[in-house]
């Protein structure tokens, strides 16, 4: 390559630079610190430029000398060597010396004249006194390493899987192929599209290509590897040298992501392996290898399952839209049924099924595990028990139970309260426990589990249980119970949920925060949940919270009375029977129904909601079951299952007993969602009342 014109540029540029350096050096001594730093940078860059340019023409004398000067300048720049008149004088001499070396080249003198050589060595020795850099290190770093070429052309196999960022980084697989062509002959090439995803997952700026190349060349392996130097970090590059054994190819096949059979065929297509060699290697389809490979393919998938942060608002919006979709699809299904078009019906049922799946997966997006929330309480229990001088072990179970995120957020406060209560009032002090023959260390159980369409969270302790005498006397004192009133144990326990009740004899700074159990109960009821209490004096107490899985959508059972539609949450429907049919007789005097010998309380929705009209000849009973208590709801017609979005009731209706929300039917009419827990409580207390009065 004729670089003479460039050499002229080098002479001119070097002279300009050296003159500039001289100017800077002469005023360097008088400059303040900041300007000195800048000046040193400029001189360093000057030396750097001369060294780099000289290197282009392999002017070793200049490169070596300048390198040592540059090293010294670098150390001065880093303030490792201070500036004084001596060093400035030395650098000026070095500049002159470089100028002479340049002139020498310009005069086409290959050999260094003895006087110049000697003066150069003197300067280098002086430089070394300052910097400690020797000439030999420099020579070492300017080594020539050209790829050696052998004379014989041989066939290599190159396997390439480009990294996904290759294109974005400005590299082009095509360029590498074309560059290879300058090194030898591509005998065969197969472009692999196996990693190319489906359109939906396709990122046009990512690279998915793979190449298998049979390449005939006389250059050595290093030269081939160098061809892919710039992509080796992110791409998978395998180069099999000529004469590689079949087993090497099999190893390659095994390591690559494609199916073994497929890659085997590709290698045969490339001509790197023969069909016979492959057949010999795999007498039968090698199932074990294939299975191993599948396992390995699966492994990374598991590892790559990463989570992604999504704005909660977006999620809510999505779920809201899914809710609308559910309504719209119910409407379409209804219309399809009315039209009696079989095809339309089929399509609509497919649609309904898909919408259900979408709904389930959408709701699942909101589900998070209760674990992290539970763990938060460990700390509270630890800190509190220390303050109170108690020994408490907290046992968590069901931490992997999923629950709607909103529910988890809202349940956190009531749970905190219950746990504080247990630690404060439930579990006794170690001394007290020893006196009762209990282990010094009290136990607090926090558990979550699924139960008939609900999530149950329990806070239990092995403490003292509730003190019923004290509760009763306090309730009487506060006028919650009449002096002469007889109450069952459970009713006494439940008094603590009454507004304005506080059980602590002395208000400690922990639980006495003005928030009573009534607030806890109300918070839970706002989540359409319930709380119940199970206390065993001397053994401990258990608070059991039942919560719906989600707040947004319910599977309901649609019934109708007169012109009104009602939705009963499906998970609470036990069975449907005809009133006064074979299985179910009504006893109007005693106000119960007899379901195959089982006595159940019942409510007539017609009467409860005063819908008016006259009951049809045949009425139906929906048997509902909530928390182990069954009751019958008498309705006119059973309409069937119905999936619906819960719309909150307006403020005006919030006090109407028995209603939990409203929903829009497919035909646009409003259906009211029944508050089954409320109704069940209502009838079971009525039942108690009637039984008591009967006694």
């Amino acid at each position: 390559m004729d670089l003479d014109p460039a050499l002229q540029t080098f002479y001119v540029e070097s002279r300009e630079i050296l003159e500039e350096v001289e100017d800077i050096l002469l005023r360097l001594g008088q400059e303040d610190e900041a300007s000195q730093k800048e000046s040193l940078n400029a001189i360093f860059r000057a030396a750097h430029t001369i060294k780099g340019s000289a290197g282009l023409f392999k002017l070793q004398n200049i490169v070596i000398f300048t390198h040592v000067v540059e090293s010294l300048l670098d150390q001065m720049r880093e303030s490792e060597i201070s500036i004084d008149d001596d060093i400035i004088a030395l650098l000026l001499k070095c500049g002159d010396h470089i100028g002479e070396l340049v002139t020498l080249v310009q005069q086409n003198n290959a050999d260094l004249p003895p006087d110049l050589k000697e003066s150069g060595e003197v300067l280098l020795a002086q430089l070394k006194q300052y910097s400690g850099v020797s000439v030999f290190e420099v020579k070492e770093s300017i080594k020539n390493n050209n790829g050696k070429e052998s004379n014989q052309k041989k066939s290599w196999h190159i396997s390439l899987r480009f990294g996904c960022n290759v294109l974005r980084e400005g590299m082009d697989p095509l360029s590498f192929v074309r560059y290879l062509e300058t090194l030898g002959e591509i005998e065969n090439i197969v472009t692999l599209d196996d990693a190319l995803p489906r359109l939906v997952d396709f990122d046009p700026e990512s690279c998915y290509l793979g190449l298998e190349i049979k390449f005939k060349t006389q250059v050595d392996k290093q030269s081939i590897e160098d061809a892919f130097k710039f992509i080796q970090e992110d791409s998978t590059i395998t180069i099999l040298s000529p004469g590689s054994r079949v087993s090497d190819y099999l190893k390659l096949i095994d390591e690559m992501p494609e199916e073994n059979q497929r890659l085997g065929d590709v290698l045969v297509q490339c001509g790197s392996l023969t069909a016979a060699e492959l057949a010999a290697a795999w007498p039968q389809p090698n199932i074990k290898v294939a299975l191993n490979k599948q396992d390995r393919v699966r492994m990374p998938v598991v590892q790559e399952t990463r989570s992604m942060r999504v704005d909660a608002g977006k999620l809510d919006e999505h779920i809201n839209l899914v809710g609308e979709l559910v309504i719209a699809s119910a409407g379409a299904a209804l219309r399809a049924q009315e039209m009696g078009d079989t095809t339309l019906n089929e399509l609509s049922s497919i649609l309904t099924r898909l919408v259900e799946e979408v709904r389930d997966s959408a709701l699942h997006l909101r589900m998070i595990q209760v674990g992290p929330t539970f763990n938060k309480f460990q700390r509270i229990v630890h800190d509190m028990s220390k303050d109170l001088g108690k020994e408490i072990e907290m046992v968590i179970s069901g931490a992997d139970t999923d629950l709607d995120k909103t529910v988890i957020e809202k349940i956190s406060d009531p749970l905190t309260h219950l746990i504080r209560n247990s630690v404060d009032h439930g579990i006794e002090s170690p001394v007290e426990r020893e006196e009762k023959n209990k282990p010094r260390k009290g136990k607090l159980y926090l558990s979550a589990y699924h139960d008939s369409g609900c999530v149950v969270i329990e806070v239990a302790d092995d403490g003292n249980g509730l003190n019923r005498d004290r509760i009763l006397s306090k309730a009487k004192e506060k006028g919650l119970v009449r002096e002469d009133q007889k109450l069952m144990d459970k009713d006494i326990d439940n008094l603590i949920f009454e507004p304005g009740f506080s059980t602590a004899d002395k208000v400690t700074n922990i639980s006495g925060r003005g928030v009573g159990m009534d607030v806890v109960k109300r918070n839970i009821e706002e989540l359409r949940g319930t709380i119940e209490l199970d206390s065993r004096p001397g053994e401990g107490s258990t608070f059991r919270i039942r919560l719906p899985l989600t707040l947004a959508i319910i599977d309901g059972f649609l019934v109708n009375v007169e012109n009104s539609s009602f939705v009963i949450p499906l998970e609470m429907v036990h069975e449907c029977v005809e009133l006064n049919g074979v299985n179910c007789k009504i006893d109007t005097d005693r106000n119960y129904v007899n379901l195959r010998g089982e006595i159940l309380p019942f409510i007539r929705l017609r009467a409860l909601f005063s819908t008016g009209g006259v009951a049809p000849k045949r009425e139906n009973v929906v048997i509902v079951n909530y928390a182990g208590v069954k009751a019958g709801l008498v309705v006119d017609n059973l309409m069937g299952e119905f999936q619906t979005v819960i719309k909150p009731l307006g403020e005006i209706f919030s006090h109407v007993p028995g209603l939990g929300g409203s929903s829009i039917l497919g035909n646009g009419e409003v259906a009211l969602i029944l508050d089954v827990p409320g109704l069940v409580n209502r009838v079971s207390s009525m039942e108690n009342f009637s039984i008591q009065s009967a006694v």
Binding site: V177, N188, T191, R198
Partner: protein, 107 residues
């Protein structure tokens, strides 16, 4: 940019400008249409000014996705540049030669 011209059962698409990493992302909606159009598809590369591997990748995806749906796809008016790339990467058989397709149709 890809323009589409309907000729009955045939849809004639034409790529204008570059088919490179710089345009790969903005061509997405056009390629989505090209892949999903139920008519016979003919894609002309006559006005492609520059093409690179990302462009080739788009063409491969289009061919494969249309094959999957059993829809016809023909690339026509290859520039010498594209032909050279097909040769370099040995992709001619991947993108079926139009001649062979015609024979199939004739039978």
């Amino acid at each position: 940019m890809i323009s589409f011209e309907e000729q009955g059962q045939l849809c004639c698409a034409q790529i204008e400008g570059d088919l490179t990493i710089y345009t790969a992302a903005e061509l997405k909606s056009d390629f989505e249409r090209l892949i999903s159009d139920q008519r016979d598809m003919e894609l002309s590369l006559a006005n492609v000014s520059e093409i690179d591997s990302s462009g080739i990748q788009w063409l491969m995806l289009a061919q494969r996705e249309r094959n999957r749906q059993n829809l016809s796809f023909r690339i026509i008016d290859h520039s010498s540049e594209v032909l050279q790339i097909f040769k370099d990467l040995d992709l001619s058989s991947y993108f079926k030669e139009p001649v062979i397709l015609d024979q199939e149709k004739g039978e």
